[in-house]
């Protein structure tokens, strides 16, 4: 079975960067939301894919990829979101079956639960996340102070609702992960426990 590492992360905690660098370090594949979306669009003829999804969706796939059961929805937005989730889940399973990889976000810990991934959760204190967002200059760079904090909170709320909806599990609840790392404290951890292997190799 392939080595699979899934990373769930709070916005601004640096989880995606850790995922990317971890994949580089281990010389394995890296996937995140953008890459999975691009794969859905680019690696095959979209119309073929849609036909395939139409043929198989929605109920036969749902028990594999979500913890919820649905009746046939008449709400177009819901159907569209469900379809996209199923496409994502299918791509995620395909890439995980193909090679060792790191996958950031997209409920990958849940989608791949039968493949025993290592499930990391990366989080940080708000102060650290605000400072990191400012330093990174990403698309919310024009927000400051309490507005930036509100934005960070709202992005994580969205992630939490998304995860809850598709997995019926609580996002960020320790028991669903194997290792949870607070990046705001990590410089101190490394200073106090050199290399950290001293601790971790004891287990």
């Amino acid at each position: 079975m392939n080595k699979i590492i899934t990373i769930s992360r709070e916005f601004g905690s640096g989880g995606r960067e850790i995922g990317r660098r971890l994949a580089e370090e281990m010389k394995i594949a890296y996937y995140d939301q953008e890459i999975v979306a691009a794969l859905i669009k680019c690696t095959q003829n979209l119309e073929d894919y849609i036909r395939y999804m139409e043929k198989e969706r929605p109920l036969p796939l749902l028990p594999i990829t979500t913890a919820r059961t649905f009746g046939l929805s008449t709400n177009h937005a819901v159907t569209e979101n469900l379809n996209f989730y199923m496409q994502e889940s299918k791509i995620i399973r395909e890439v995980a079956e193909k090679s060792d990889c790191v996958i950031v976000g997209r409920c990958a810990d849940y989608v791949l639960r039968d493949m025993n991934p290592i499930r990391l959760f990366i989080y940080a204190d708000m102060e650290y996340k605000i400072a990191r967002c400012k330093a990174k200059g990403n698309d919310i760079e024009n927000l400051f102070g309490s507005e930036l904090q509100k934005k960070i909170v709202s992005i994580d709320k969205k992630r939490s609702r998304y995860y809850q909806f598709y997995t019926n599990q609580t996002w960020g609840k320790m028991e669903h992960y194997d290792l949870c790392i607070n990046t705001s404290c990590y410089a101190q951890i490394k200073k106090i426990i050199p290399g950290l292997t001293a601790l971790l190799d004891l287990i």
Copy 2:
């Protein structure tokens, strides 16, 4: 400032053993509930200590050591518990000021919060904890199956209530810790991410 590592842990997760071995590995002092209790009894004249506590207690110490405020309690059991908590907290601060150390349990993460400890939380799946309790043959060795599970749950509930009471924080909530390790998955983590330094040194 001394290097201080506090360990909070679910019963049966192996947290205490990790703490002891970590202290050995780092060649620093190790303290847990039994050792702190023994220190209170043995390292000084108990009567002197009680006089000292009587002189300073209860209100002047409370804002330092607990997040709660109390009126003067007329409940003897509550007063006794509070006194013991204050004695413990005082000893914990004394040993942490004296040298580098690992402290397991006793709300040490909260008691020493102004000393910037590294705060670890060690947890595990129920199946792992049951197997570990059986293998260890500790004082609940005569319980089996659901009875053993009930006991494990009840011990952790007690720990949770104790922590909540004295710190006004939720025990086992990720945000209060720097690193949370699921020991039941750790063998797999080591297999998939060799040494784990590859990951942790990237942060």
